[in-house]
């Protein structure tokens, strides 16, 4: 090989690496830009308390978005997350007040959430209903049941200690943040280091080929929605504990849109098969910073939607270099 060519090749390898970095991690770059812009725009932004606030604020949507990522990687969508969160919260608080046991409440939450997810999964995998419509139905149904149980109002926990779950700190870091990070690591490992994750990607990319490879597509899908339900119940537990109450009418409203936005900003493809957990993590942070900045900068309330919509679109365009 001539030295010239070798040189050229080396350069091209470098460029490849860079473009790889870009395509894989453009969301991180977008995040950094927004982060830096934010710290210039508001002196308060970098304050450690503010940073902690942001993390705390994104933790609930973040945990939901992790589940949403998995669903979307499998080629589906879950519109029911917000309603299921409300339902799980309502039932968990009732269980809490009835038994007086925090553990019972948390367990109830997990069971209700995974069960709702399981139902979604069954509708999608066995009933062969488009996930959009199946989870739209679940969205209506779960909210409805929550309203019915709680009579349209909100229910408060009557057991002291329950609110400690979300309101305690460990080494100065709030529990919800820690739970969010643990969940991120957990879902990351699940998706990238285990067979389940591999199968989810395969199904999202080519369902028929996945099936002909001997993958139990049905079971994997059921698993995907159940997992999401479980993650929603973790989020519901945090939310309920944080406010020591849950509203059957307004809790979780439009969480699905926030979660989906975070997932897409994070670079996951709408149609499945492509995307990364780590992208969602940063997508969630970007949304969190946006909300935070809008409050810090006192954007007119009627215009906040505009600014947010705009920045989301810019962030997505920005990372759209294939």
């Amino acid at each position: 090989m001539q030295p010239q060519q070798k040189n050229r090749q080396e350069r091209s390898i470098l460029k490849d690496k860079l473009s790889w970095l870009w395509s894989e991690y453009s969301v991180i770059i977008a995040f950094l830009i927004i982060f830096i812009a934010a710290s210039f725009m508001s002196p308060r932004f970098l304050d450690i308390n503010n940073q902690m606030n942001i993390l705390m604020q994104v933790s609930i949507i973040g945990i939901i978005a992790l589940g949403m990522t998995v669903v979307m990687l499998s080629g589906g969508i879950d519109l029911s997350v917000g309603s299921v969160l409300a339902l799980v919260g309502v039932i968990a608080v009732i269980a809490l007040n009835a038994t007086g046991s925090i553990i019972a409440a948390v367990l109830t939450a997990f069971i209700v959430g995974s069960f709702a997810g399981l139902l979604n999964g069954l509708m999608v995998a066995k009933g062969r209903i488009a996930s959009f419509i199946a989870t739209l139905g679940m969205m209506a149904a779960a909210r409805s049941i929550a309203l019915y149980i709680a009579n349209g109002g909100s229910i408060s926990g009557e057991v002291s200690g329950f609110s400690a779950i979300a309101n305690s700190e460990f080494l100065m870091i709030d529990y919800p943040i820690i739970i969010f990070i643990i969940m991120t690591v957990f879902v990351y490992l699940l998706m990238h280091k285990t067979r389940f994750g591999r199968y989810v990607y395969a199904i999202g990319s080519n369902e028929k080929a996945a099936m002909l490879s001997g993958i139990r597509v049905d079971r994997v899908k059921i698993g995907v929605y159940s997992l999401t339900g479980l993650l929603v119940s973790v989020a519901a537990t945090i939310e309920t504990s944080r406010l020591n109450s849950i509203s059957s009418s307004s809790s979780g409203v439009s969480y699905e849109l926030d979660a989906i936005a975070a997932v897409i900003i994070g670079g996951t493809r709408m149609t499945g098969g492509r995307g990364k957990i780590i992208g969602t993590f940063f997508g969630v942070l970007i949304l969190g910073i946006l909300n935070n900045m809008m409050n810090l900068m006192n954007v007119s309330p009627h215009l906040q939607g505009f600014v947010k919509g705009l920045i989301i679109i810019v962030a997505v365009v920005f990372q759209k270099r294939e």
Partner: protein, 514 residues
């Protein structure tokens, strides 16, 4: 410059992700000739044609059509120059009807802008009839067999009365008689002055139909010449650097125990009364024309479809197979046809495609051992001679032939007792084809049982010990491989001859008395 050339591509260069795929390639095509474009998998044939078809832009070089320099940046511009392109991968719109596909992008409309449906249907019917196909133009394309989809793509190119037609492996999914019809049609076109650029790995076809050839190797131009003056041997030599024999190379050896036994298998509307056995070390072939039900049969056997009657025994034990996973557990493996739809997961990288069906080989405490995956991949890369730069790119970046090798490797890794290949050499170059056959034969020698499905009688004859011919969902003949002739197979496959014991019990479905 002489005006002989209708198309001239000069010094074309192209790289993907900085990897050069075409290096100063030149292609010159005469008016009214069929020009073969030859080369191994990944030589750059499709890429070169994609540049002519406006799908990709060349990095360097220029294109002349009719002696004039042209800029082709979109498929539309290419079409406007009178170029039609039949792509290597099927590009029909499944949710549209046949005639809608035929006229897609150039619909016939009346003055009000309303589509002239009946006129389009009529023309569709005509052109299909010329190719010897009788189909309802209003049928949805998604309901058609792959070979018909392929024919529709071809018919569409012909319909547009183009001056230049690019055919990138048009016959991979076609049956023999369909190929013959296509060829006679191409000959007629050539007489009217149409030029055809023809890509195929089937050298027999090349010899039969083409006038001149250009060979590419590793993205470089190697040779151009007249087929009349060049022996096939020479051409394969130029392509793969050695010559490839064409004779039957199955090894006769004694078979072991019966491993797969299929009794009275049937599936409503697809096939019925299927009986056969496969023994260790045996290579059994299934052949027939499009629509003979052999793919459906195998999909049923493999648990992708539901059977309506019959039973399946593996190693003497009856097994229930309702899902491919059950088939996998029972010891069956399937390399499906139509790689793009059924075999590759295009968003997974090459290694992950390889290991998808055998995850348990790579797990430790529930976690995937990526090192082990990698080393396993290197093993198959050497063994099957898979050509790629980086196994962590998604598999759709590989050339078709190399994709196929990865799929085969995937099933080798599973290591089933019975390995089924449906159209295993689709789009594979001559060199690689031989390698694949060799692997199949080695597997048989190791004591595996092999089933091969192919519509190419020669391929089946070359590697199978035993051949079942299917016609309209039934096995019409079962022939010993060494007694089979192409002619005999064709007669059974077209239904013009039937086995005496049709519908009788297996084992009695005796060898054809020919």
């Amino acid at each position: 410059m002489s005006n002989d050339w209708i198309v001239e591509m000069k010094d074309i260069e192209k790289s993907f992700n900085r990897i050069p795929v075409l290096k100063k390639v030149t292609l010159q095509v005469k008016k009214g000739e069929i020009h073969a474009l030859l080369g191994e998998n990944g030589a750059g044939k499709s890429t070169l044609m994609n540049i002519l078809g406006g799908v990709h832009l060349a990095d360097k070089g220029f294109i002349m059509v009719d002696g004039e320099k042209v800029a082709i940046t979109t498929p539309k511009e290419s079409q406007q120059l009178g170029i039609s392109f039949i792509h290597q991968e099927l590009n029909v719109v499944g949710d549209l009807r046949i005639y809608e596909n035929m006229f897609l992008g150039s619909e016939l409309r009346n003055k009000l802008g309303i589509l002239k449906v009946e006129e389009m249907c009529r023309q569709t019917k005509d052109i299909l009839a010329k190719l010897g196909v009788r189909l309802d133009p209003k049928e949805y394309v998604r309901n058609l067999d792959t070979s018909y989809k392929q024919l529709i793509e071809i018919a569409r190119a012909l319909l547009h009365r183009s001056r230049i037609i690019i055919m990138d492996e048009p016959t991979t999914a076609l049956a023999e008689h369909e190929v013959e019809r296509l060829f006679s049609f191409m000959t007629k076109l050539r007489e009217t002055g149409v030029s055809i650029i023809y890509i195929s790995h089937k050298l027999k076809e090349i010899k039969a139909i083409c006038d001149r050839y250009t060979v590419l190797r590793d993205g470089e131009w190697v040779a151009t010449g007249s087929l009349k003056e060049t022996e096939l041997d020479q051409i394969t030599n130029m392509m793969v650097g050695r010559s490839v024999s064409e004779e039957r190379f199955v090894q006769e050896h004694s078979f072991g125990d019966t491993i797969l036994e299929v009794k009275d298998l049937g599936c409503e509307g697809e096939f019925r009364d299927i009986n056969f056995v496969v023994r260790r070390g045996e290579i059994v072939g299934f052949t027939g024309l499009a629509g003979d039900g052999r793919t459906e049969l195998i999909e049923t056997l493999f648990g992708y479809r539901r059977k309506s009657t019959g039973e399946i025994k593996v190693n003497g034990k009856q097994v229930k197979i309702n899902h491919p996973k059950h088939a996998l557990k029972a010891g069956l493996g399937l390399v499906p046809k139509d790689r793009k739809e059924n075999a590759i997961i295009k968003d997974l990288n090459v290694i992950h495609n390889l290991t998808l069906s055998s995850m348990s080989h790579f797990e430790q405490a529930g976690f995937i051992q990526e090192k082990r995956e990698k080393s396993r991949f290197s093993y198959y890369r050497d063994k099957l001679n898979i050509k790629l730069h980086d196994p962590t790119v998604t598999i759709d970046k590989l050339s078709g032939g190399n994709q196929q090798k990865v799929v085969i490797a995937k099933w080798l890794e599973v290591g089933p007792d019975v390995l089924i290949f449906d159209n295993p050499t689709q789009g594979i170059d001559v060199g690689a084809k031989r390698e694949v056959y060799q692997h199949i034969i080695d597997l048989a020698a190791e004591g595996k049982a092999i089933i091969i499905l192919s519509s190419e009688a020669p391929e089946i004859m070359k590697v199978c010990h035993y051949i079942h011919v299917m016609y309209q969902g039934e096995i019409t003949a079962s022939i010993n491989g060494d007694k089979a002739t192409e002619d005999l197979i064709m007669r059974y496959a077209t239904g013009s001859k039937r086995e005496g014991g049709k519908g009788g019990k297996y084992r009695n479905a005796a060898t054809a008395k020919e």
